[in-house]
């Protein structure tokens, strides 16, 4: 699903965020990406959904080398990927329904199908009763779950989640993690960036540790 070949990324000339990352993540895997703050987790995720281009190396997603992708092909890539952003990126002037529906509107779905599908996914994340609220009136944990619903609603092949449990209480964390595991069971490949070691230890999933832009540990050293 994901292949990284000697990927390097620097924002400025002297500041290197990632250096020489090579890794392989297979279809259907659930992988944690971990490391202290500033290790390069978010940067790596951004490379995967094409928000950044690596300064060196190759990134292959689902058989497509996205380092050579023309801008016109970017939408097609992103439709295969559901991203849960660290800052959620929910639109405050739109309802929960409309926020989640965006993913499907972009795909050209009809209104009826969208409403049905959005209701279904909101029920999965336990927010169907908030369908007509605006994000501002939701708690942090609820906003997080709306962001997840938006990423999961079209059953993407690949799910990327950036600190999805950050700033959440224990109960919300459990809930978020459970939703991601469910999506994984349904067939999505899942990559979760987190600095939360406890979450990883309890999960018994594969994890890749980043430190100062290098891979220092991979629990599945294959």
């Amino acid at each position: 699903m994901i292949q990284l070949h000697n990927v390097c990324m620097s924002y400025q000339r002297d500041a290197t965020a990632l250096s020489g990352i090579s890794a392989k993540i297979s279809k259907g895997e659930f992988v944690f990406l971990t490391g202290v703050s500033g290790a390069g987790k978010s940067t790596l995720l951004k490379l995967l959904y094409g928000a950044l281009k690596p300064t060196r190396g190759q990134v292959v997603i689902d058989g497509v080398n996205i380092t050579k992708l023309p801008p016109s092909q970017l939408p097609a890539l992103r439709r295969k990927i559901g991203v849960v952003f660290q800052d959620f990126k929910l639109l405050p002037s739109r309802t929960v329904l409309e926020n989640v529906a965006i993913t499907l509107e972009v795909l050209g779905w009809g209104k009826k199908d969208i409403n049905k599908r959005v209701y279904h996914i909101l029920k999965q994340v336990g927010l169907e009763h908030k369908i007509n609220s605006t994000p501002i009136r939701l708690s942090g944990g609820e906003q997080q779950r709306v962001a997840m619903a938006r990423a999961l609603v079209n059953d993407p092949k690949l799910i990327l989640a950036d600190e999805p449990t950050g700033n959440l209480d224990e109960e919300s964390k459990e809930r978020v993690f459970a939703i991601l595991k469910e999506a994984n069971v349904r067939g999505s490949t899942v990559v979760v960036a987190t600095h939360d070691r406890r979450l990883i230890e309890n999960s018994h999933k594969r994890f890749i540790v980043l430190d100062k832009g290098h891979v220092t540990e991979d629990s599945d050293a294959s």
Partner: protein, 314 residues
């Protein structure tokens, strides 16, 4: 990767061009509803800008109408080398009428000329006692169409008149025509200059207003790109929204202008003092109204397009 969900393919709405267009228009209206305040502010700003422009146009159109009416004085008089028979006169006036630019042609007989002359003497009629009409020549008076009253056209016209062998002399207020021509050119130049500045200001104001409405939604633009929307898909509703704002702004401006016109501008009384108009102001012709509306739509579209360029560089 076998996916259970893939089997249940949802029916795609918006097949074909009209379906898509329908979706984009619907989306634009939803966007306006979700951002009422920004849109109202933007429409009011556009309306103010266009109100200034349409007021200027109203003044200009009326100024041109009044000054153009002064050119009614342009008249050409042709004198003959001898008295013509009535058959010859009919023949000649027919030929003159066929010349491009002729509005009407009138034959002034000796008697008619004498009567006019007599009328002008007022109180000193006794001077003409015993004088017969024979001392005055008969003539033909020609008025030209409005678009043929500039000095160039008049000169060309007179040259053609002189080619008739029956015509000995042609008189027209050459000096006056030239001065009037210069004056009209001055008015047109000043109008174009002031109008040009106003149009530039309007473009600047509208473009920046629309930029603000788009800027206030840059998060939305970014997100659309991140969930895989094509550029076309992101842009289209904003372009339509810009056009709606432009048309709504112009419509509002024209509504205010019409109101002001109905309330007092059409009334001749306030102008009779300056003595330039007998009939009050005329309203903008339909063609100008249509052009303003079209201009609003185009400006809204272009303003959105230019602003979007800055934000959609994904």
């Amino acid at each position: 990767m076998p996916r259970e969900k893939a089997a249940k393919r949802p029916k795609l709405a918006r097949e074909g061009v009209t379906g898509r267009l329908h979706y984009f228009v619907e989306r634009a209206f939803i966007n306006i509803r979700q951002n009422v305040l920004v849109n109202v502010l933007s429409i009011v700003t556009i309306a103010l800008a266009f109100l200034i422009l349409s007021l200027f146009l109203l003044v200009y159109v009326n100024l041109e109408r009044v000054t153009a009416s002064w050119s009614d004085r342009v008249q050409i008089t042709a004198y003959f080398d001898r008295e013509l028979s009535s058959g010859e006169v009919t023949d000649l006036t027919g030929k003159i009428r066929a010349i491009h630019g002729t509005l009407d042609v009138g034959y002034i007989s000796r008697e008619e000329a004498f009567r006019r002359f007599y009328g002008r003497l007022k109180g000193q009629e006794s001077l003409l006692e015993g004088v017969s009409p024979e001392i005055l020549p008969s003539s033909i008076e020609i008025r030209l169409k409005r678009d043929s009253r500039d000095s160039q056209s008049v000169a060309t016209y007179v040259t053609r008149l002189r080619q008739f062998p029956e015509i000995k002399e042609v008189q027209y207020g050459e000096e006056w025509v030239k001065r009037f021509d210069d004056f009209m050119n001055l008015i047109r130049f000043a109008g174009a200059l002031v109008g040009g500045f106003i149009v530039l200001a309007v473009i600047f104001i509208v473009a920046n207003t629309i930029k603000l409405t788009i800027y206030s939604r840059k998060d939305e633009l970014e997100l659309m790109g991140l969930v895989g929307a094509t550029r076309m898909f992101i842009k289209a509703p904003f372009l339509i929204e810009g056009m709606i704002q432009g048309v709504a702004g112009v419509a509002l401006a024209l509504l205010v202008l019409t109101g002001a016109y109905m309330a007092f501008l059409h009334n001749a009384d306030i102008f009779s003092g300056i003595g330039i108009m007998e009939s009050g102001l005329v309203f903008l012709p339909l063609s100008h109204l249509a052009a303003l509306l079209f201009g609003g739509a185009a400006l809204g579209f272009m303003g959105s397009l230019a602003s979007l360029k800055k934000f959609i560089a994904l």
